[in-house]
């Protein structure tokens, strides 16, 4: 569980996060949504320790990050898996080497044990047979799955995903969403996903934080977001023509 309390962050005197409070629950897919410039990425980077907040705390399982020693911070980072927007796969390594990388860096596992773990994870993300390929030789969807495999291979407690299905076709995006949700439940991970994609919200939004101008404008679940009458949220949700038409059809009783 990650608890954020009164989080403030500013750049050059301009406040980007203006006092956020939210609890990201363990074993659930927690989504952060909002328009571009609403502060989602800054929020994520604060939680990852890349940025230091001006005010407020981020507690990992009850302990504030600011009170972690350097050693504890390094240990915490080993428990974090991150799926980057572009995959961020190491392009000089094969798929297998990419997935094995965290094990090589942080464990004392034997090579056979590492290979066994990598094969299990690759099987879990349906990538058996692609292990000797280079990242440039596989599709965008496969790259995202490799990125997920690399993020979960060391059995993290926290999984952060920055727009995991951006640039993917709707079918592949759904596959990726479902995969992240299944992994979250299976390994009981605290998963935090940044997304713009309302399809993702509909598929896996077990807990949603809607950000607007650095403030938490709304919280709820995927069922609640489509029923809310909060104008800030409805303006965002129904900016998609598809969702707008579905809502209009529902209102007309079709």
């Amino acid at each position: 569980m990650i608890e954020v309390k009164d989080l403030h962050k500013a750049f050059n005197g301009e406040e980007v996060l203006k006092g956020l409070n939210f609890v990201f629950e363990r074993g659930k897919t927690n989504l952060i949504i909002g328009q571009s410039g609403s502060g989602k990425s800054v929020f994520l980077k604060n939680m990852l320790g890349i940025f230091t907040p001006e005010k407020g705390t981020i507690e990992y399982d009850g302990k504030p990050y600011s009170e972690f020693t350097d050693e504890e911070r390094r240990e915490l980072r080993k428990e974090i898996g991150m799926v980057f927007q572009g995959g961020a796969l190491f392009d000089s390594m094969t798929v297998k080497e990419n997935v094995m990388f965290p094990l090589k860096m942080f464990t004392k596992m034997k090579k056979t044990e590492m290979e066994e773990r990598v094969n299990t994870v690759l099987e879990r993300v349906n990538l058996i047979g692609a292990d000797d390929k280079m990242p440039s030789e596989i599709s965008g969807g496969m790259q995202k799955r490799v990125s997920i495999a690399r993020a979960i291979v060391n059995r993290p407690k926290y999984l952060f995903c920055d727009e995991p299905n951006s640039g993917l076709d709707p079918t592949t995006a759904t596959v990726i969403d479902n995969l992240i949700q299944k992994i979250t439940h299976e390994f009981d991970i605290t998963t935090i996903i940044i997304t713009h994609d309302m399809n993702s919200v509909l598929e896996i939004g077990e807990k949603i934080a809607f950000l607007k101008d650095g403030l938490l404008a709304w919280t709820g679940t995927k069922d609640e977001i489509f029923k809310t009458e909060d104008k800030t949220v409805t303006d965002f949700v129904y900016s998609s023509n598809l969702f707008k038409k579905v809502r209009d059809a529902q209102l007309k009783g079709y």
Binding site: Q85, G86, D91
Partner: protein, 245 residues
């Protein structure tokens, strides 16, 4: 101010490079990989250039020695001095700034724009150490490249001078041995070590701190070549002033 900021950033990067170390077994593999890419991969062009530069130096010297009172062995002496003191360590380093420097900047820069460096940092890995330290260690073998360059430069001079009929073989060997100062060789290798460090770190700085996309990676490579050359030339001047004057 921008230059001062960059210089400060460069030294902070160096502090990071020698900070928390990557796991030894991983580092060892990275060092061998870098030796292969940076050093072994450059041997072909270094050998080719060194041989022909040595040859041209010999021909140019021979063609300018018209006075019968000047012994022909001077061709070998001039070739030896030119190759050992400047052509091998400095000229080859400028070439390496183009070849190795661009490679280092573009490889680290590409990692920066595709968030691979962020991925390392999020995992808790000291990305500066992981990416730059192995390159510095690999470049410690650079003096071997320069030694080969010196040998081939002088060999090229011998072949051009003797086969071109400018000097007799015995005169050439005699000229090579005339007034040989061992310290000149030591000076050449001292500056080679310094150049090796510059060749590894200045392009790495330009790659690590670059911002933007693919176009900016190309621009960063060009800037890295220019600045590496500038730093090499200034260092060459300073070290020559310190050690030889």
């Amino acid at each position: 101010m921008t230059y001062l900021h960059s210089i400060g950033e460069y030294f902070l990067m160096l502090k990071g490079v020698f900070g928390r170390m990557t796991k030894r077994s991983v580092l060892r593999n990275l060092i061998f990989k870098e030796i292969n890419e940076l050093i072994i991969g450059s041997l072909g062009i270094v050998c080719f250039l060194s041989f022909f530069i040595g040859a041209v130096v010999a021909i140019q010297t021979a063609l300018n020695l018209n006075n019968p009172l000047i012994p022909k062995s001077l061709v070998a002496f001039a070739a030896r001095q030119s190759v050992i003191l400047e052509f091998a360590p400095t000229f080859i380093s400028i070439i390496m700034a183009g070849k190795v420097g661009s490679f280092i900047t573009s490889s680290i820069g590409s990692m920066q724009v595709t968030e691979q460096i962020d991925a390392l940092e999020v995992m808790g890995i000291n990305s500066k150490n992981y990416l730059i330290f192995p390159k510095i260690i690999a470049m410690l073998t650079y003096p071997f490249v320069i030694a080969i360059s010196m040998f081939l430069g002088i060999l090229g001079a011998y072949v051009a001078a003797v086969l071109g009929g400018f000097v007799k073989p015995d005169d050439f060997v005699s000229g090579l041995q005339d007034d040989f100062v061992t310290f000149h060789l030591i000076y050449a290798f001292i500056k080679t070590f310094l150049f090796a460090f510059i060749l590894a770190t200045v392009p790495a700085y330009h790659g690590y701190y670059m911002k933007g996309g693919a176009l900016e990676v190309g621009q960063a490579s060009t800037t890295a070549f220019v600045w590496t050359s500038v730093v090499l030339i200034i260092t060459n001047y300073a070290i020559t002033q310190l050690l030889l004057s």
